[in-house]
């Protein structure tokens, strides 16, 4: 777990390291020059330009050394320091981006955006899974019925549509052709105002509908396939012979046996949706982690990139871990190993 996290971090730092270095150095140069510009008496004390320039250069070098930037970014020492800082959630300051409240501290930016992503994607995943489990259980117990055929074909068709494209279409239809939902998902009023919650819900509707529409089909299909397998097991047949109510068999016994894989998929799809959030949020302009990530990438705001990759990875790993634990809990056979 921790090892994976470290490797992810290391890879991210390696990938953005050299860029990050040059940006930091430019920052130092800018800082030194502006300090001197603010203090005209320093400039006056020099008689010629060359001397003045070399003085500035000396100052810059001293500052660079002080920050440890004189060594290349790939020395173990510097990578160690960077990784340690990230571990304790000290991501530094963003270069361009800032939070809604105006802070440029990466930690604050992420803390501001994260709840919104969790709100949107957790809600949609929950709706998807409820719909999916229900539909899947229904169609899995009645193979080849109309509902089974419809679910299966809907699942197959919907899984090949990109969510963001459906998003564009939804915006096109519901925001611009019929003005039902707003096109941009960012609420136009401030979080402190009383109507904020409803505004947020109203703005959330379109992305939520889109994600659910695309997602639940494949869920239902998966659950159906598990159910088909389980409905053929001996214990179900014997229960049927014993005359137990069919609904009881499906929802009490069969579904319980399908639970372990379903829960694994639930946990994985929760975290997977966080990654998929990048494109979806960019389309709907939902002010969450995904859009932050996208903005950071387009502006090459490296501290934000590193910070959000870290946070995303942590979430991803946690959900994999939780899925493993839950699997063991629901399926005792796994615990022996």
């Amino acid at each position: 777990m921790i090892l994976v996290l470290m490797i992810t971090l290391l890879l991210t730092i390696v990938l953005v390291g050299s860029n990050m270095d040059s940006i930091l150095k430019q920052g130092v140069v800018f800082q030194v020059r502006s300090e001197i510009a603010n203090n005209p008496s320093i400039a006056k004390s020099f008689s010629n330009v060359n001397e003045f320039e070399s003085f500035i250069q000396e100052k810059i070098d001293a500052r660079v050394k002080q920050l440890g930037l004189d060594e290349p970014w790939y020395t173990p020492q510097r990578i160690g320091i960077t990784m340690y800082k990230i571990m304790i959630l000290d991501f530094g300051n963003a270069t361009f981006l800032s939070s809604d409240s105006g802070s440029s501290d990466v930690k604050e930016i992420i803390l501001e955006k994260l709840p919104r992503t969790i709100l949107l994607f957790t809600t949609s995943t929950i709706i998807i899974s409820i719909l999916g489990i229900f539909l899947g259980a229904m169609s899995g117990s009645k193979i080849n019925s109309t509902i089974d055929r419809m679910t299966s074909s809907f699942a197959i068709v919907s899984s090949s549509f990109p969510v963001w494209w459906i998003g564009m279409l939804m915006i096109f239809v519901f925001a611009f052709t019929y003005h039902i939902f707003p096109a941009r998902a960012t609420p136009s009023i401030l979080p402190s105002e009383p109507g904020y919650f409803f505004a947020l819900m109203h703005h959330m509707a379109l992305p939520l509908i889109t994600i659910v529409m695309i997602g639940f089909g494949s869920w239902a299909y998966l659950v159906r396939n598990f159910m088909v397998g389980i409905m053929q097991e001996d214990f179900v047949t014997s229960q049927k012979i014993m005359g137990i109510n069919k609904k009881n068999i499906i929802y009490k016994h069969a579904l319980k046996n399908a639970a372990p894989p379903i829960i694994t998929i639930l946990a994985l799809s929760l975290s997977g949706s966080l990654g998929g959030a990048i494109i979806t949020e960019a389309v709907f302009d939902w002010p969450g982690m995904g859009r932050l990530y996208f903005e950071a990438i387009t502006m090459m705001d490296l501290p934000v990139i590193v910070g959000s990759t870290y946070v995303l990875t942590v979430f991803f790993l946690i959900s994999i871990f939780v899925a493993d634990v839950l699997y063991g809990y629901f399926d005792p056979r796994m615990r022996v190993e």
Partner: protein
């Protein structure tokens, strides 16, 4: 063993309707790609981002066929490049006459008209443009002296309907029209009825005459463009690009990306998984931990970082997609090979002292073939949508017109807000249809891999 397995697979796919549908769609797509590669010169596709290549096309024009559903026909963009050419000689003067006939049956005025030509001549010939309208009125549009050359030279020019001289000439002929012309643009007058300012339907003939005092006038290129609001099968975008060409070219690209990524990552995953499962013990442990690490990396953020920091070339992108593609397959392949390993015939050949590479290739891999085919088919759409998604974010290879790239441009130029549906729907449909074809095929394979689903 493997031969009968292949036959089994074939039979199973032919039996399933979905599988057949998938194969039919795929075949159509392949035919489309071949058509694209054969008929559309590679130059057009390289010039996709070069605005000057698209200058004679209309801007944001809807598909031409929507006129079928409209009561008010909107004018179609017409590029007339095959004029009827006549030569005449009276005394010293040669006349080269190019005539463009156009049937105008629309309920709105065209956007503009442009005459584009290239001629080789000596001296300074006179160029005259006039139009004969359906009501037999002949409007004189323009006469101008072409620049003087001492020796034979090629001269090319574009004359726009907004040209001041054309405006002036038309105002001089205002007696034909019963309404004030001052504020109207040229095309609104030329294509107008005489009583009121409404489009006049019928056949217009544009006559372009070049008068030279020698035989040395040769018109090399002559093109009349009637600028309209609809064009071609799929319309055009903000940059005047013909979307039909973009979509057609996107097909081989998408198939290439999808198939390359899926085949190579499945092969990689299979070999990796089978080897790890077969070897077992510590090498299995190490290989699977490495697999876990890659499995736990969040794929999309990493793909984005990779394409930003390293390169967004399409070939490298395929490589990056592969890095994240093989992991799941390796896991399944390992567990399957663990099962197969314990079977008698594998143990027997082990005892007979066969090399492990031979055992893997001859005895274990063939068993996994149906699964491999299924996962190839299933991972193609994923690769295509991921690439499209990256392109949509603006991180794709800009030199290739992939479907995602087209959608990216559409979203940047606010196609949703402006209602340019022909810029949004067709590329997405193509992505979806391509994905669907492979999902269908994969589904047919799935019934072979999991016989339980058959019932």
């Amino acid at each position: 063993m493997s031969e009968s397995a292949t036959r089994e697979i074939k039979k199973e796919i032919l039996k399933s309707k979905l599988g057949m549908a998938g194969i039919v769609i795929l075949a159509t797509l392949i035919v489309m790609s071949v058509v694209a590669i054969v008929t559309i010169p590679v130059d057009t596709f390289k010039e996709w981002n070069n605005p000057s290549n698209w200058i004679s096309y209309p801007k944001v024009a809807s598909p031409a066929w929507i006129n079928l559903f409209l009561s008010e026909k909107i004018p179609e963009h017409k590029i007339l490049d095959k004029p009827a050419e006549y030569r005449d000689k009276t005394g010293d003067i040669t006349v080269v006459s190019n005539q463009f006939g156009v049937d105008f049956e629309y309920d709105d005025f065209p956007n503009d008209f442009i005459y584009e030509f290239e001629a080789q001549y000596v001296g300074a010939p006179l160029l005259q443009i006039s139009v004969i309208r359906p009501d037999e009125i002949k409007l004189h549009l323009m006469s101008m002296q072409l620049p003087n050359f001492e020796s034979a030279t090629i001269h090319g020019e574009r004359i726009f309907s907004t040209d001041k001289m054309i405006r002036k000439n038309i105002q001089l002929q205002s007696t034909s029209f019963n309404f004030p012309l001052e504020k109207l643009s040229t095309e609104d007058i030329v294509f107008s009825q005489t009583d009121s300012n409404e489009p006049l339907k019928g056949r217009y003939v544009f006559v372009v005459n070049i008068y030279g005092n020698d035989l040395n006038v040769d018109v090399l290129k002559s093109k009349m463009i009637i600028g309209g609001k609809s064009f071609g099968a799929l319309g055009t975008d903000e940059f005047r690009r013909d979307l039909a060409i973009g979509l057609l070219w996107g097909t081989p690209l998408a198939l290439f990306i999808g198939i390359t990524v899926s085949i190579s990552s499945v092969i990689l995953g299979l070999l990796y998984g089978v080897y790890a499962g077969y070897k077992g013990k510590s090498s299995d442990e190490i290989m699977m931990r490495f697999n876990d690490v890659i499995y736990a990396l969040p794929a999309l953020p990493f793909l984005i970082i990779l394409s930003v920091t390293i390169s967004n070339s399409i070939f490298l992108m395929i490589g990056f997609l592969m890095i994240f593609g093989w992991v799941g397959i390796a896991k399944v392949a390992r567990s399957m090979s663990l099962q197969i390993k314990t079977r008698g015939y594998v143990e027997a050949s082990e005892i007979m002292g066969q090399k492990s590479s031979k055992i893997i290739l001859r005895h274990i891999l063939p068993q996994l073939l149906p699964y491999a085919f299924a996962s190839i088919a299933i991972s193609v759409p994923a690769a295509i949508t991921t690439e499209a998604g990256l392109s949509f974010l603006g991180l794709g290879d800009p030199s290739f017109p992939t479907w995602g790239q087209i959608l990216h441009d559409a979203s940047v130029y606010g196609a949703t807000a402006r209602g340019i549906w022909w810029w949004i729907i067709p590329p997405g449909m193509m992505i979806a249809i391509t994905g669907l074809a492979f999902v269908f095929i994969g589904n047919a394979f799935d019934t072979i891999v999991n016989p339980k689903l058959k019932r």
